[in-house]
């Protein structure tokens, strides 16, 4: 498999080609999983927890890259390791007041509110339940558009629609349907 430079990796992760996104994620796994795993294992964690943390880190990285909110001031490895370290430190704090952290690699200090933007709330979970009650097609369209942030043209191609306008109409109908559901549950969300 071809190894890409960091800049290429970032471009692939920001792009609209799912195959390229998966290739980039694969490369991240091959190169950066092990340092994160070592960090977790040497700090009272298990291999399962290392898997979970690395998935959370990649999700946060992917989401922030695609939202355009992330400007890297360090290497991808340092960034991923630093986010993982922060997440794991938070986890250790839940278990102990003053956790001792064995450092296994170079890291940068992240801003306190860095991870807060990625925290999913109870309210998000409630809304997710409503979204899951929609049909599979609606879920896919809305996820491609709002989560992956693909343009409508790309969404049409991924969904196999005739053109962008069909995708827009479908997305609009799904959103309308979802809003009606939200209206029904309005009291729960206190909107």
């Amino acid at each position: 498999m071809n190894e890409h430079s960091e800049q290429t990796l970032l471009a692939m992760l920001r792009g609209d080609e799912q195959r390229q996104i998966d290739q980039a994620l694969s490369q991240l796994y091959r190169h950066y999983y092990e340092p994160v795993q070592q960090l977790i294992l040497k700090n009272s964690g298990t291999a399962d927890e290392a898997d979970d943390i690395f998935q959370e880190v990649l999700w946060a990285f992917y989401t922030q890259l695609r939202s355009g909110k992330l400007t890297l001031q360090c290497t991808i490895k340092t960034y991923l390791y630093s986010v993982a370290r922060n997440m794991w430190l938070n986890e250790l704090r839940k278990r102990s007041n003053k956790p001792d952290m064995v450092e296994t690699d170079e890291f940068i200090v992240l801003e306190e509110n860095h991870l807060a933007t990625m925290m999913l709330t109870e309210r998000n979970q409630e809304m997710a339940k409503l979204i899951r009650s929609l049909g599979e097609q609606c879920q896919e369209i809305l996820t491609y558009f709002y989560f992956d942030r693909f343009r409508m043209k790309k969404v049409a191609a991924l969904m196999g629609f005739a053109n962008e306008q069909v995708a827009k109409n479908k997305k609009s109908k799904c959103l309308k349907k979802l809003k009606a559901l939200v209206q029904e549950k309005r009291h729960r969300f206190q909107l």
């Binding site: 998966d22 092990e34 399962d48 998000n124 979970q125 809304m127 809305l142 989560f147 959103l175």
Partner: protein, 249 residues
Amino acid sequence: MKDKEKKIDDFLLDRLPEAEKAAFEAALAADADLSAKVKVQEEIIGGLAVVGRDQFKERLRRIQAEVRAEGDVSAVPLKEERSRRWMLWAGLLALGLLLTLLWLTRTKTVEPAVIYADVFEVYDISISQRDPSERDLMEELDAYYRNREYDRFITRLDGQEGLYPHHPELYLSLGISYLETNQLEKADEVLLTLENSEYQAYKDHARWYRALAALKGKDIDKTKLLLEDLVNDTGADHHQEAKRLTQRL
């Protein structure tokens, strides 16, 4: 309507140019209806973050599995593999427990000697003469039986039992003597003769000790079969013992 929806999308997905963004924010502050719509759509995007995250993690698991299959990362196995290993160990443990349980059950059923020792009781019987000419013999046999000198009892009576068909107690005590000296086929034979005889009062006793002979011979099916009549007949002698023994088996 769709333009407004697109505008809200662009605003929330941070796709508006700075000037348009500022204008939209001003409109938001002035328009409560627009503000409510934006809030709902914002909530929806928050919910889609959860749905998207779950789908994304599923993709990551697949990618991780592929990377592992290529052997490109550390030797620590995948979560799924660890789970499979754990399941294998759990399976082996369960199998071990099952085998232990089976062994214990087997112990319970194929160690009939233990059960036999629990349930066997010598039937208290007096062997008395029917005819003055039998007195010495019967007294001698009675003494042997009471003293549990079964070998001497059997030897003393050897070849003569057929001569005393009118002595049901002799047949019963002989059957029990055979039983206690592990001559199980002979025990069954003598007790069967008694069971089929005219002495109805001894029928249930004969059946019970035949069942014990079968038990001692580790023939559980035969034991159960012989006990059946005693269990079904609430008025039968040994009814309760037969019931308890059947339950144990």
